[in-house]
Symmetry: C2
Subunit: 350 residues, 2 copies
């Protein structure tokens, strides 16, 4: 049985991952025992750039001129506008597309994937549902009935594409699959650690944005370094508490991996969630107004996630164990003054 | 038996702690069951400020005009130039003085402290010794034969003195003493958590400076956010590994307390270790030259600690498990290029 890699998505991060994994596949395809197909198909939602099809541009220039300009892609990566064609015979599926497209893409894929396929999700976000919160990796797993790992970390795409040193975390359920994904992505400049904890890793990627909103409030209020560090730490603890409360097998170690503490740091010092929350304090505008002005009307992830998480916590009468998440939600909704971000209740034993 | 608090040290941090603990003692002294003496003596190394004794200035103005100007101290805090007089009948001793004075102070105190005395150390640093590394709290414990807790955290003194929200960590060996110290320091703006792990808490306070030097190198090299976050995370892991390797009973949780992740963050984004290390990359100067120029010849703590730690690790043939600490030491000694800070070996399972 030969292995074949397919990448579902081709944005900034998807193209970066295509570069890393494409180079590894090229190496492996020269080792017969690897049984690895040389070609890596990458699904591209077709669009026209300067009068040409984006797929044609990628396939002739070996560069995603629109979403990752200036970075050469290995020649074995081929852009494909057809989703089903992309995954044909693929045994390794990398999901790296905007969260809102996952459901539809899975519907289209159903019945078209190889029997031995397994997947990894690089998608950040949560599916809010009637019954609470659903992980994106679980949505994919349930839709396609395959094993799904996740990869998350302090990985600003352009810095990774420039091969600046960083780390990332693979969260797996099936150990052999986790090890294979680790081997596929690990390089000298992209250190990949693995942890048997899909939910913990994936929740870090979603919940960190709530902490970044809190950090933005502190920055807007001109809080000191102590305060910001305390808010980040409390956020990490609430992240861990939430994950352990709602998912079995969450590993404490996960929060000291790149997906945990490192990604929280980058998100709280850079990133749009921090920036818009800072603007919220410094202006008299609501988040809805700022989203219009600063994000072309896109919803701010941290505010959205805080609302979804607090809805679940309120239902379960657990809000008092999450004073920071709750406070972010109250402030974002206009029900508390941003100054109260530091008036968070002391929770013993955190 | 009445309780009496004494503060040994009166610098920036000592005066801040005198403010916090002094106010709490004032409250407790009004509750008969507390059996608490109202007066808090604070040992001041006598010096002359504008022609007046510093102790007189503190005792008349209720302000440490030299080391914490602008912050009123509670009137029950009295400055005392005599060390033995300061601790007379004191049952609670707070050590908050520069590391290099500890040995001599303990020698002077021996035989003069109350039988029921216990102490807490707020001193950051390590005692390098022939046999390896000695914790300051253990030096005090061994010299005076009393229980010694520690308090460390992301606590820039001026921000704490301005009552800006932050957190801190009490590490204790004796639980009753730990709880008492927590109660003494905890306020709405100075959240105090406790963990039964003196060595872990204290090592965080010392080892964080090595990480800050690494972070300064990254800043000097104009590294990205991913890289800096990775360096911080690897540093945290090495900190934990070192503590667990050399001390029994170190608790993994400690590294997610204020003394761990939060203090590492403040130190890696502000602070002198980061700043001087950045200058090291941007200039052609050695650390010795930069210490002369930027620190009046004082040694940079992170460089010193890296050397002490690496000496022990080399002796025990464990350097390869600490690629970041080792790399910092190599670069600081001029034996490696700062650019190699990101060429740190991958250690599996961290």
């Amino acid at each position: 049985m030969r292995e074949r890699l397919a990448i579902i998505g081709s944005g900034n991060w998807g193209s970066t991952i295509a570069m890393i994994a494409g180079e590894r596949v090229l190496e492996w395809s020269q080792v017969p025992e690897r049984h690895m197909e040389r070609e890596v198909r990458m699904w591209v939602f077709e669009e026209t750039v300067d009068g040409q099809k984006l797929t044609d541009l990628i396939n002739t220039r070996h560069e995603n001129v629109k979403y990752l300009p200036g970075i050469p892609l290995p020649h074995n990566v081929t852009a494909c506008p057809d989703l089903v064609e992309t995954v044909k015979d693929a045994t390794l599926l990398v999901f790296v597309l905007p969260h809102q497209f996952v459901k539809k893409v899975c519907e289209q894929l159903r019945g078209h994937i190889a029997p031995s396929a397994r997947a990894i999700s690089l998608i950040k976000g949560l599916d809010g549902s009637q019954s609470g919160i659903q992980l994106v990796s679980h949505s994919i797993r349930d839709a396609l009935q395959i094993d799904v790992s996740v990869l998350m970390g302090a990985n600003i795409a352009n810095e990774v594409a420039a091969r600046q040193f960083c780390e990332t975390t693979v969260g797996y359920a099936d150990e052999a699959n986790g090890a294979l994904w680790r081997e596929l992505f690990h390089t000298d400049y992209f250190h990949t650690h693995m942890v048997q904890d899909v939910a913990g890793v994936e929740l870090c990627g979603a919940l960190k944005n709530i902490i970044a909103v809190a950090a933005g409030f502190v920055d807007g209020l001109k809080g000191g370094d102590n305060t910001k560090a305390a808010i980040i730490r409390i956020g990490l603890i609430e992240m861990r508490r939430f994950a352990s409360m709602y998912y079995k097998g969450v590993n404490d170690q996960t929060f000291l991996e790149s997906c945990g503490v490192a990604d929280v740091i980058t998100t709280c010092f850079g990133g749009r969630n921090r920036r818009v929350a800072e603007a919220f304090v410094l202006s008299d505008k609501s988040f809805a107004e700022l989203e219009d002005e600063m994000l072309n009307g896109q919803k701010l992830q941290g505010v959205l996630t805080a609302a979804e998480v607090c809805k679940v916590l309120e239902r379960d009468n657990k809000l008092d164990q999450f004073p920071l998440f709750h406070r972010v939600h109250l402030i974002a909704e206009g029900n508390a003054d941003p100054k109260t971000i530091t008036q968070i209740k002391y929770v013993r034993g955190s």
